[in-house]
Symmetry: C2
Subunit: 334 residues, 2 copies
């Protein structure tokens, strides 16, 4: 069975180059559909260079537009929203960030000053990353700065974006390895994002474990963020393997992974296909903040794709639960 799983990953790599293809221009709807069919990422450098957002969204413009509008901000001690945190007793938990609302201008000022204080103790990390279609809701006044939709994706997939999200933070936030059930068009506005990508077929490499769920909560006396476990919540499956620390927390298959790496600069567009694992870190732009926009389109659960990926997970998990049988003796009597 181990050989079947290793063979799956090897076969995939024999048939697919471990690089993110770079296109000269946005694909046609048909061209895009071919990438969706293959579940293969690509980058279009400077695809969004004419967008108002890329041309105009500096700190002053954003502050003048959003003013003191209240926006949802997540807060963590180390930029680790939705990440594994080791508890005092050595156990691990999947911890969600503290959430708060702040006037936009103050939030942006905090972000800009804190990115320069990188490494200083006592400064929590703030990130606007609600992923709930925020650009058509709390950031609606900024929505005019980006296309209403991505035409090649809308036409190819036969439906508009399910959510359009704005991401704004500093260089201390890291999104740990996870996957989304969406076809994702990701566009860098300010600063850079550094993506590490793994195809769905590398699920056996990422060391998925069920962890208890927790949340950062400010201590009533000190105000420091502390992990509060949620004993009621179902445990959640979390990737423990980190492609940037490939020798730690491995599975027997981690060494077979071939992570793809791509950095998005201002105006670059990435197609991040559904169910690809991604870890994302970031670098601030000239004005000390990072900003990106992404368009999420519903993935197609029909056909074989979802069922096949489910099967890989099932085989990996049933393999883990098997007792280690002793070797049978074949002495001629069996």
């Amino acid at each position: 069975m181990e050989d079947s799983i290793a063979n799956l990953i090897d076969t995939y790599h024999e048939l697919n180059a471990a690089v993110v293809e770079e296109l000269d221009e946005e694909p046609s709807p048909l061209g895009f559909m071919r990438y969706v069919a293959r579940n293969q990422p690509f980058v279009v450098r400077r695809a969004a260079k004419h967008w108002t957002a890329v041309r105009k969204w500096n700190a002053d413009y954003l502050s003048r537009t959003m003013e003191d509008e209240a926006v949802k901000v997540v807060v963590t001690p180390r930029g680790n929203a939705d990440a594994v945190v080791e508890q005092g007793d050595g156990s691990q938990a999947f911890v969600e960030p503290h959430e708060t609302f702040e006037p936009f201008k103050r939030f942006l000022e905090d972000v800009r000053s804190s990115s320069q204080m990188f490494g200083k103790a006592g400064s929590n990390v703030k990130y606007a990353q609600t992923q709930n279609d925020n650009l058509r809701n709390e950031y609606e006044t900024l929505y005019a700065g980006v296309p209403k939709d991505i035409p090649f994706a809308r036409i190819a997939l036969g439906a508009g974006a399910d959510a359009i999200n704005l991401w704004l933070g500093d260089d201390r936030s890291v999104t740990s390895l996870h996957k989304d059930n969406y076809e994702n068009i990701y566009v860098q506005i300010r600063g850079q994002k550094h993506f590490v990508l793994l195809p769905p077929v590398e699920m056996p490499c990422i060391n998925e474990q069920l962890l208890p769920k927790g949340r950062y909560v400010p201590c009533e006396t000190t105000g420091d963020l502390e992990v509060q476990l949620d004993d009621e919540a179902e445990p959640v499956p979390v990737a423990l393997w980190d492609p940037d620390m490939p020798d730690k927390l491995t599975t027997p298959y981690s060494y077979l992974a071939k992570p793809l790496r791509v950095t998005l600069r201002e105006g670059d567009m990435l197609y991040l296909p559904s169910l690809w694992y991604h870890k994302v870190s970031q670098s601030v732009g000239d004005e000390g903040f990072v900003c990106a926009v992404n368009y999420w389109y519903d993935m197609d659960f029909s056909g074989h794709f979802w069922a096949s990926n489910n099967f890989v997970r099932d085989v990996v998990n049933s393999e883990k639960m098997k007792p280690a049988y002793p070797e049978l003796e074949t002495d001629g009597q069996t």
Copy 2:
């Protein structure tokens, strides 16, 4: 492990209706690419009704056009080309047909008269089914009667047909369950074809076994076709389960299969996606023969599709090779 395989097939069926979709008209290239991405078949009724072939190919027209041109014909005792044949000792072999060249007119006359002699002893079954791009080679004079290519498929897949094949025979030929590594556009010209279709994910249902290879060869004295095994040839993987005899030669998963059935009538077009298992039987038209044309396009081996299907086969086969371990006793000491 058995549960993983059953779960794969069940999940697929939960997400995919077990019917062949009927479209009102040929899809656009983009529309077609969506079906290719989902690996989902469809039928377009009467899509080819304006084709010269559908309008004009009667026995007289075909004979006048092809005249005494030599064409390759396969001959079997029971219409069983490329099929499992039980040997005298009860063992099974995968047997290819006897191949011969005949003047077209005589071949067509044989086909037309033999379809009426159905069941009569001593009449071998002839079928023109070379699948080697014959319509652009030995049947070249007929090629003008069909489109040079299928535009929506050529544009979507970014390449012309790899092979265009003519199929001509009587109602005694049956193509047993198998799959092809091609995207297939199949068009009925005369008579009917009755397809039974299984998605690739049902590989665990079809009871694939490695069988020795043989060929029908005419006996030097009687002329009767007899099976001659090829001891040099590698054994070939063959589907033993027959969806029309669902209780025989089963695997533990055969009962989970949901075969799709569709009959193509004159002028109908079927998209038969790559790697789908298909069994095909046929009914003759008014003039006592069956004729169809198909366009084979190269499938895409990149992405996850090929690798995933390979994995299913690997898991099924490694499961079969496992010794049946005794239940471990858990008496507290182990």
